[in-house]
């Protein structure tokens, strides 16, 4: 259970998982939204702050003008929020007044970022009246708001990333299901289906995989039927031939006929077996089998004098009929193309079959067995299908079959998958 959970996390939260990209995409979208809103809000409050500052400055200017008109004097005095200035009026304020007499000029002085001021100036009776007011408190509010917006945006980002990474399980789970099913189909379970309902692209992917499996299954079914039909069509006349040949009166001619019928029969069976292997319709029925007994059985079945050593044989996971067929074919081959003594030894899950002939031809060792290529120029000593069948059956049961030449003969090695557990 614990390892299953660990396994789930390893797959679901893999470094290259799609979920991180989805989360990053969502986070990026959220960032864009936050930046746009942040900028808009900042601009809006800035504008309002400037307008407020202008009002304050106008008020101060009005106050200064009023006092000037009342007293006829203009002095550099400080007010609660600003100051009346007589000298050192900044140039941008003068520019804002266009040098004309009736215009009230205003200028936001941000030359010192920590001390924003709003200037206002007016020509009254030829005298320039200028004031400035301190806007620090107003612009501090804008700054606080900006800080808050940034904090909120970052917080939202983190939350969005985590939540989306978790929610994307809904998507990645469906994708994992598709790939799991596809793997099962690849492993030969053609009845595996995703069963997705129509909808989004993942569902489309699912139904595409499903229809691929259906097509594969149908193709295999057709192949299966075809090989079965071919088998029937070939075996029926052959059976008549075999049975009739046995009814013939004994004699030299009869022996010749029976011999050739026998060869034909083996050839037909071998070809049928190869066509089944080629069609991929063969499925192993795996079960734990004691390898020593299996090899002993297979060897005795060949009826050949073999030096057999099964000490140290293990329990293997295999299909006994196919395994016996492989061993028997290799033993037959050793006698047919090699020379006695033929030795068969079993050690753990490994079976070695060796003879003392001229060894396998180079092409068998490098390319594997080829149909009807026996390595001997003379015909009639077997048809080279035995090794092909052995190799094909080994593939079906997941055993590893290799051909090599040891000192003084051919050596075929079969490694069976070990049995998972012994039940009893």
């Amino acid at each position: 259970m614990h390892t299953r959970i660990a396994g789930f996390f390893r797959v679901a939260f893999a470094r290259r998982s799609l979920r991180w990209r989805i989360a990053a995409l969502a986070a990026a979208s959220a960032t864009v939204v936050a930046v746009v809103i942040g900028v808009a809000v900042h601009q809006d409050s800035w504008d309002r702050s400037v307008a407020e500052g202008e009002d304050l400055a106008s008020e101060a200017l009005n106050g200064a003008e009023g006092s000037y008109l009342a007293t006829g004097k203009l002095s550099a005095t400080s007010t609660a929020t600003g100051k009346v200035v007589t000298t050192g009026v900044p140039q941008p304020l003068l520019d804002a007044m266009h040098g004309s007499l009736g215009v009230v000029g205003k200028w936001l002085d941000t030359t010192r970022p920590d001390w924003p001021r709003m200037w206002a100036g007016h020509h009254v009776d030829g005298r320039l009246i200028a004031v400035w007011v301190d806007l620090s408190h107003i612009f501090d509010r804008v700054h606080d708001q900006d800080v808050f917006v940034v904090k909120a945006a970052v917080g939202t980002l983190v939350v969005v990333f985590v939540v989306v990474a978790l929610l994307s399980e809904l998507i990645t789970r469906r994708l994992r299901r598709v790939s799991r099913t596809a793997l099962r189909i690849a492993d030969g379970d053609l009845t595996a289906r995703i069963g997705a309902r129509a909808g989004d692209e993942i569902a489309d992917l699912g139904s595409a995989v499903d229809s691929m499996a259906v097509a594969l299954q149908q193709k295999l079914l057709i192949e299966k039927r075809f090989t079965a039909d071919v088998a029937h069509e070939l075996r029926t006349p052959l059976t008549g031939l075999v049975t009739s040949a046995e009814l013939l009166p004994d004699g030299e001619a009869t022996e010749l006929v029976r011999d050739r019928v026998g060869v034909l029969r083996v050839l037909v069976e071998d070809l049928l077996e190869i066509s089944r292997l080629d069609a991929g319709v063969e499925r192993a029925e795996l079960t734990p089998v004691p390898l020593g007994e299996l090899v002993t059985e297979a060897v005795s079945r060949t009826g050949r004098p073999v030096e057999l050593d099964t000490t140290g044989a293990a329990l293997v996971q295999t299909d006994p009929r196919r395994a016996e067929r492989i061993v028997a074919n290799l033993v037959h081959n050793a006698f047919r193309h090699g020379s006695p003594p033929v030795e068969v030894s079993v050690a753990g899950p490994v079976v070695r079959i060796r003879d003392h002939g001229t060894g396998f031809p180079e092409s068998v060792i490098t390319e594997g067995p080829q149909r009807f290529r026996t390595g001997v120029t003379e015909r009639g000593r077997g048809h080279g299908l035995g090794l092909t069948i052995a190799a094909g059956q080994a593939e079906v049961i997941g055993a590893e079959l290799t051909f090599s030449n040891a000192a003084g003969g051919a050596l075929a090695t079969i490694v069976f998958p070990a049995a998972e557990s012994v039940q009893g």
Binding site: A228, T236, E246, P290, E293, S300, P320
Partner: protein
């Protein structure tokens, strides 16, 4: 001199039918032939042969259907011949109640050996049936086997077993609790020397289970079966 063993051969291919009939006649069997399933069923019901030898692929009623119909009323031995690829037909043939099968093309010696083996099981049945009963009942819970009368009852209800099924059950009953491998059973029940097909054992065990109760015979994975005591 006893009457020759009557064999009903159902085979659609005329060459195989004639050649097999001639071969079996040479071995002393009284052979009746039919070319299709329905005729075969009719002939079986009329003549009640000692052995039914039939092809799987037959026009009309196929071999599997014929086998099933015969098994409804009879426990006589049935031997199937299959020319198609085994896995497809053999298992369904055996499940339908055949005692054994051979694949075509079949050697005469192999076919005759199979016929003898199946008949021996059935003969065992008949020969023992005339012996007086009472040499000790074998009881496993409510499963009672009378090896003398060759009767099997489950909870007092008699169960009809074919010769092969009965032979298999007796094999288990003689060694209760002991695991019997498929190879052992093939040798002792089916008389196979070495070229047996363990699916024969598996399907026969399945059939036996459906008749006497599924949990009485335990599967020991990779080795064989045993009778639960």
């Amino acid at each position: 001199m006893t009457a020759p063993v009557a064999v009903l051969l159902v085979e659609d291919d005329s060459v195989i039918r004639q050649a097999l009939a001639a071969t079996l006649s040479r071995y002393g069997y009284a052979v009746t032939t039919a070319a299709d399933g329905l005729t075969g069923l009719e002939l079986f019901q009329q003549t009640q042969p000692d052995l039914l030898l039939l092809d799987v692929m037959l026009p009309g009623l196929d071999g599997i259907g014929l086998c099933r119909r015969v098994r409804e009323t009879s426990t006589r031995p049935i031997l199937m011949m299959s020319a198609r690829d085994q896995a497809l037909d053999v298992v369904s043939g055996l499940e339908a109640g055949a005692d054994d099968y051979v694949t075509k093309p079949v050697d005469t010696s192999v076919l005759v050996a199979r016929i003898r083996s199946v008949l021996r099981r059935a003969g065992h049945h008949q020969a023992d049936a005339v012996e007086p009963a009472g040499n000790g009942l074998l009881e496993f819970g409510d499963l009672v086997i009378d090896p003398g009368a060759l009767e099997v009852t489950v909870g007092g209800t008699p169960v009809a077993l074919s010769a092969t099924e009965l032979r298999l059950l007796l094999e288990f009953a003689e060694q209760p609790g002991l695991v019997l491998s498929r190879a052992t059973l093939l040798r002792s029940v089916w008389d196979y020397g070495w070229d047996g097909d363990s699916r024969v054992v598996d399907t026969c065990v399945q059939r036996l289970r459906t008749k006497i109760g599924a949990d009485r015979i335990e599967t020991v994975r990779g080795f064989g079966y045993k009778l639960r005591t």
